[in-house]
């Protein structure tokens, strides 16, 4: 079985949850990512911020997981935001047009301000 090199830790900030993504987001990371979403989404969460500042690698299957997460947030009327993406991965979000649905911010502070 391929190894999964990803941790996704959840922090709470009022009605906002931040998921710290550290490592490689590939198709094999589905359980880790979706478990983190479930933890982040409980209670009264109205926004979720994905902090990608420790992201090492993101492939197309990983992008697919982010789309699935986006749909889950939309179904419960949560906003999904991203921060800490390198310039390269901001381009990937542009390429796939994910940037039209996920707000992208340079820093976590900026994303928090937008979510409030």
């Amino acid at each position: 079985m391929p190894t999964v090199n990803l941790t996704a830790n959840v922090r709470k900030n009022g009605h906002i949850s931040i998921i710290d993504i550290e490592g490689e987001v590939t198709g094999f990371a589905e359980k880790i990512l979706m478990d983190a979403y479930t933890e982040a989404s409980n209670g009264t969460t109205n926004s979720i911020i994905l902090n990608f500042s420790q992201l090492e690698y993101l492939n197309s299957s990983g992008i697919g997981l982010l789309v699935t997460m986006l749909i889950r947030t939309q179904r419960v009327k949560q906003a999904l935001l991203a921060c800490g993406l390198s310039e390269h991965y901001v381009e990937i979000f542009r390429l796939t047009r994910l940037d039209e649905a996920i707000g992208i911010f340079e820093t976590e502070e900026q994303a928090l301000a937008a979510a409030r």
């Binding site: 079985m1 391929p2 490689e24 198709g27 090492e56 690698y57 993101l58 492939n59 197309s60 299957s61 992008i63 697919g64 789309v67 699935t68 986006l70 749909i71 939309q74 179904r75 390269h88 991965y89 381009e91 990937i92 542009r94 390429l95 796939t96 047009r97 994910l98 039209e100 649905a101």
Partner: protein, 245 residues
């Protein structure tokens, strides 16, 4: 091979660069070049219909081959694995990030449906296409191979929405899904047989990711590649009769 993988991961070079509009390179004279040039990618969050994740798989039982070898062969001979009558025209450079492929598909009534793809991602273990406006679906399709404890599996995974109400109707009525199932099962069977698998067994799994339709996207029908290909057929016949290239 391992080093190449590392290089891809370190540089992120497996991805295509963003493009505003697609441009088709040189294609053979027999190809119908419609519905791709100048189009935008339809995108992962666009499209009209319900969002489906469809996964097709085949196991490579009884043959010794690595996932890298399968993906490399798949990329090199990609159009050859498609069911007969369907063509993908890719540049001589093959399936590389950023390349645009022109698709001519056999459709009912002798229609040739012209559409295309952009190779958005490719590395040693997978590659992915996204579709232009007007294609049957908006989304991404990923081709991969991976080793598990008990053997090797090749997989096609689609995360898609029907692009407009007409395509959505074909999915709701079932024949859209059926046509796709036949196509991709055939592709995986041809792939496995190419690598020496005897009587390959394919499987499929559907997950309805989003049951809602996106009504704001209904106007996508204006660019429907099926309708536009159908309207082009009389023109193509006249050109053929008068020998115009």
């Amino acid at each position: 091979m391992a080093d190449q993988n590392l290089k891809t991961k370190d540089t992120g070079s497996g991805w295509a660069r963003p493009v505003d509009k697609l441009h088709v390179g040189e294609v053979p004279a027999e190809a119908i070049n419609l519905n791709v040039e100048g189009r935008r990618l339809s995108g992962l969050v666009r499209g009209f219909g319900q969002m489906w994740q469809k996964t097709y798989r085949v196991r490579f039982d009884g043959v010794k081959v690595s996932s890298e070898e399968v993906v490399s062969g798949w990329k090199t001979h990609f159009p050859n694995f498609w069911p007969e009558g369907n063509n993908l025209y890719v540049p001589l450079t093959g399936i590389q990030p950023g390349e645009v492929g022109l698709i001519n598909l056999s459709a009912p009534g002798g229609l040739k449906l012209s559409t295309g793809i952009l190779v958005v991602y490719a590395d040693d273990s997978s590659f992915s296409f996204m579709t232009p406006e007007g294609h049957m679906f908006a989304g991404m399709i990923t081709f991969s191979a991976f080793e598990e404890d008990d053997g090797l599996t090749a997989q096609i995974q689609m995360l898609i929405r029907a692009n407009d109400p007409l395509y959505e109707l074909s999915f709701r009525l079932g024949f859209g899904h059926k046509a796709e199932d036949v196509f991709w099962h055939g592709t995986l069977t041809n792939l496995a047989e190419h690598f020496g698998v005897q009587s390959p067994q394919t499987t499929q799994q559907y997950v309805l990711v989003d049951p809602r339709v996106q009504w704001r996207e209904w106007r996508n029908i204006w660019k429907n590649a099926g309708i536009r290909s159908g309207l082009y057929m009389p023109v193509a016949m006249v050109k053929k009769i008068f020998g115009k290239k």
